[in-house]
């Protein structure tokens, strides 16, 4: 077949990890790959009650078409959540999305011309890069330390890239590193965005999965010039299968996103919006979140303990104060992609996400993203022990 594809599709190709993760779907493999919440903690009984009630709505309106911006009752409740979290907003500032992934896609389509500079953390969320790619941006990637994006490098980048349009960041328990941006850096980021006149896309899917301390202020709450597009999601705090996320942004930006949303899929599922709304009405989301925090903290501690015990001594791991991931850095000679393909899947029967795909500009192949939320404790132990054993055997073979 001849090439009918639009130019933008040059950047839309299967990623190297698709193939690997497909292999990881083999049920005999213990996967620390996906960013899956723990399905045993899903609030089944409550969701069952909620769906029962909405499907029996006498008007049938919960199964009918609904406004494309989202059910007003749900938008109102999301605005309340955001206000309680310290980010002032009203219902008119909220657009319901098909997961926050849709917000990344719509924001990029709204803002990025081919050749515009798009700034991300280095490494960053692979799903965001997939959404950005068809818009043909030039990426600039900002290295991080334990306080998040390095602001001196960001400033240099903004200074030397006058076509900078958008900064994408996951300030809380970043994907893939688990790092949280400090309050000082948040304020500096806002100042730099104001000075260099760029939009910030703040992605917060893990924000409420915090193991200790208080939430740091959202970038949106620190925003003095209405230039932060904030994205939120129920995927990690309720269930991912509902696909309910949201955007909160300045009105002219939100209006254009809303127009793209209608064009993209008419609307998010009415049933799922109504179910989420009724869940928030009937139940206390934050007492459910407390359970998740407790369970994931235990799993994180176990994961770090097991990795420390079984992996080579020269690795580095992040110790995230929330979220779903830790980021393991090996000796620079250790290629995590090659190791997974040749050994981890077949010998250890364990999957993780090789770090390479998370780097938008220059791939580093000696990292791995390891999820600690999805597997039960016995499989965390078993999987990490097997993986550590394989790594040590491999290193021994290569040293001899």
């Amino acid at each position: 077949m001849k090439n009918y594809f639009a130019k933008r599709m040059d950047n839309v190709n299967p990623s190297a990890i698709d193939e690997l993760l497909a292999l990881g779907a083999d049920p005999s493999i213990i996967s620390f790959g996906g960013g899956y919440p723990d399905a045993s903690l899903f609030p089944k009984q409550m969701l069952n009650q909620v769906f029962n009630e909405i499907i029996n709505d006498p008007t049938g309106s919960t199964m009918q078409y609904a406004p494309s911006d989202g059910l007003p009752t749900l938008r109102e409740k999301i605005a309340t959540l955001m206000n309680e979290d310290g980010t002032p907003c009203s219902i008119d500032d909220i657009l319901v999305l098909q997961g926050s992934q849709q917000g990344i896609d719509l924001a990029a389509r709204m803002l990025i011309n081919p050749g515009d500079t798009l700034i991300t953390e280095d490494p960053t969320f692979l799903g965001a890069l997939l959404a950005f790619n068809p818009n043909q941006p030039n990426y600039a990637a900002i290295p991080m330390d334990e306080n998040g994006m390095k602001m001196d490098v960001l400033e240099e980048t903004l200074k030397s890239n006058p076509k900078s349009k958008l900064i994408y960041t996951i300030p809380d328990f970043q994907n893939p590193t688990g790092v949280t941006m400090s309050i000082e850096r948040r304020k500096e980021l806002i100042n730099l965005a104001n000075f260099y006149d760029v939009i910030i896309l703040e992605d917060t899917p893990y924000r409420h999965i915090r193991f200790e301390g208080q939430n740091l202020p959202t970038l949106r709450s620190l925003d003095t010039e209405n230039r932060v597009i904030h994205l939120g999601s129920f995927s990690k705090i309720l269930v991912p299968g509902l696909r309910i996320g949201w955007a909160l942004a300045e009105k002219s930006l939100l209006k254009k996103m809303s127009l793209l949303k209608v064009a993209a899929d008419t609307q998010t599922s009415t049933l799922n919006m109504a179910a989420t709304n009724l869940f928030l009405e009937r139940f206390d989301l934050f007492s459910h979140i407390e359970k998740l925090r407790h369970a994931y903290l235990i799993k994180k501690e176990l994961m770090l303990k097991e990795i420390t015990k079984h992996f080579p001594k020269n690795i580095k791991i992040t110790n995230p104060s929330g979220g779903l991931f830790t980021w393991v850095t090996f000796d620079t000679t250790f290629d995590t992609t090659q190791f997974m393909k040749e050994i981890a899947l077949s010998e250890a029967k364990v999957a993780y996400v090789p770090g390479g795909s998370f780097f938008p500009v220059k791939e580093q192949r000696h990292h791995a993203r390891i999820n600690f939320s999805s597997q039960p404790e016995n499989l965390i132990k078993k999987g990490i022990e097997a993986l550590g054993q394989s790594i040590r055997n491999y290193e021994k073979r290569n040293t001899n």
Copy 2:
């Protein structure tokens, strides 16, 4: 705020009818505007049973993340549906979508470069135009008669537009006109697409809402060179609130759509895919569709009778053999947009969709799309009588 928007957003603006339809949302107004199925016919009890069962799945997998191409069990069942409808395919040819609207958006993004010629029926579905617009196509619109797109005009258009890339068509009970493309025209369309080497996007949301006779062959089933992207939807035959549609296409095209789908929203709701799958497993979709066909036929006949009785004698109406809409053509001096804004909503308290927005190239303002599926019979009578009265009064005033 300065203009941060990408160039493609020049074409993304609120449509004239948004404002009108927002007014039509007033509950005191009888709306024949939206393409809504009749909510009183939703299979509540069956859906309730299905959701109960899937939420209680012991693994929680129906609420977890799922493959972005769709649940394999559902893709398999959709393939079976398509085969039973005379369109050969296998599970690998099916991509589950967030409604067929998403297929329009993804296909356009995959294929259309700015300036490419995109051919549609004239008039055509407004939602498709909204999805096409950000890709900055040049539209060519092909007039229709009672057998659909005029093939002689299409051939002239293809000949004189070497940058033609895509033909978008709704062959069954077209939106907005209700017209069905004849079998001869379908074959001719395939021949022309082959000869001029363009892709066809076949959109079939109303296909199974047929009042008489047998389904005509899909364009995809007549396709000899794998150049038809077929879109289907459960919105009109099950419930719209699930947002489940699908694409069926040649593998390299489907692969690129699948990559854009991951980037756009990760996946369609797992719960809704699982519910649709289980509905198809437990119940006979076609016995449910039989009920819809019967009910909508009665409503269509009532609608046509009432329009004939109450509207001016010089109008033309289409008599669709399926679907949800009839298309009313007034005297060319009658402006349906202006009339709705100034009189229909306030005096008759009735909404319809003014025809103007459905024309991609040259607006014709003397048509109206009237939906006959959503309102109960007493309101069809009441609404059409009131609307007819207002039209006749208006014409009387303008003649005097």
